[in-house]
């Protein structure tokens, strides 16, 4: 080896060493790669709520419908509670039972805080969902759930206020509805704070309810 090439080789050695150190530091750097499931959950957890949040939050549109408990269902009746409201029909085969079961599970997860939550299930199918039928149907999920029904025009007006759609499909006794499947989250002061698209787990609802109870 010539004396002139020694510095170059030394430089090369230092460079390789620096790359190795940099590689080790990079591999040990905090924070998982985003491809990991935990990292994706981490990104979601960085948000205050799992649901989509409105900013600013306005008062949730009020309504008065026939409750499955025989009384009038209004939002004002549940001031001081977090209201989880969704729209559906009792003959729904997939989406509505999943939503109701998820909300029932969320109340279980909440423990004592469940007393500060009210689920309201507004039917889009008043023809088949009268108050008594709603009561029996909802009791299979959670006896605290309140169903709301009324005249078709009254129900359509409530849907309009919330941007909910419900389109009847099919004829005969087995007709169904294609309807909005999101769940509205209304805080203790009656403000519409957030909207949870269909498909979230009970833990997300429990998390968001706790957030609304605290904020």
């Amino acid at each position: 080896m010539s004396p002139q090439s020694r510095p170059r080789l030394l430089l090369l050695g230092v460079g390789v060493l620096a790359l190795l150190v940099a590689g080790v530091v990079m591999m040990r750097s905090p924070g998982p790669a985003p491809s990991d499931a935990s990292a994706v959950r981490g990104a979601a957890k960085a948000e205050p709520m799992a649901a989509g949040m409105f900013n600013p939050a306005y008062a949730a549109p009020e309504f008065s419908l026939n409750g499955s408990d025989g009384s009038n269902v209004t939002l004002a009746r549940y001031r001081g509670k977090v209201v989880l409201m969704t729209f559906g029909f009792t003959h729904c085969a997939a989406v509505c039972p999943t939503t109701l079961a998820t909300l029932a599970q969320a109340r279980s997860l909440l423990g004592k805080a469940a007393d500060r939550v009210q689920v309201i299930y507004v039917t889009v199918d008043p023809e088949r969902d009268d108050a008594a039928h709603l009561r029996d149907h909802l009791a299979a999920f959670d006896r605290s759930f309140i169903g709301a029904t009324g005249a078709p025009d009254a129900l359509a007006a409530v849907r309009g206020k919330y941007g909910v759609t419900a389109v009847r499909q099919g004829t005969g006794p087995d007709y169904v509805f294609s309807h909005t499947s999101s769940i509205f989250l209304i805080d203790r002061a009656g403000k519409l704070r957030a909207l949870m698209p269909f498909g979230h787990a009970a833990g997300d609802f429990a998390h968001d309810v706790n957030f609304l109870l605290a904020h």
Binding site: G31, A39, G52, F54, L195
Partner: protein
């Protein structure tokens, strides 16, 4: 007898060092975690959208299909700057209001949307960028766009 590569390194140490640096850079680009300052993907309904539509004008506000990537831009922010409420994606959004929706599951979401002429909006949420080609390609695209 020494391998040919070692002889090359001895003859061209600077070129060898630069090649190593390039390889290390590509390795970093392909495997280093992707971190972005903001996860937001913002979409707005401009003021006057409803009026233009009522006047019979064609109004294209944003793509009918929104494509997001987990870990990169997985928080969709919908803002209504119009003077009337709009069903924008999954939510009825009042004038001046915004709706911030985080996604945590890769899937295709179909929503109604009155801001679109046909009333529909699809949001495709892709999985997070995988280590390797996905991350490398994303960084190269970013570099190209910046240049």
């Amino acid at each position: 007898m020494r391998p040919l590569s070692w002889n090359l390194v001895r003859r061209h140490p600077i070129a060898a060092a630069l090649s190593l640096l390039l390889l290390a850079g590509l390795g970093w680009a392909a495997f280093a975690p992707v971190r972005v300052a903001s996860h937001e993907a913002l979409f707005e309904i401009p003021r006057g959208t409803y009026a233009h539509r009522m006047a019979g004008e064609k109004v294209d506000i944003f793509p009918q299909t929104i494509r997001l990537t987990l870990g990169l831009n997985d928080v969709m922010v919908l803002r209504n700057r119009d003077v009337v409420p709009h069903i924008f994606g999954p939510a009825l959004i009042m004038p001046g209001q915004s709706f911030r929706l985080p996604f945590s599951t890769a899937s295709t979401y179909s929503f109604q949307c009155t801001a679109h002429p046909n009333g529909g909006l699809s949001v495709i949420v892709d999985p997070a960028l995988a280590p390797g080609w996905d991350r490398l390609a994303w960084r190269l695209r970013r570099l190209t766009n910046a240049a």
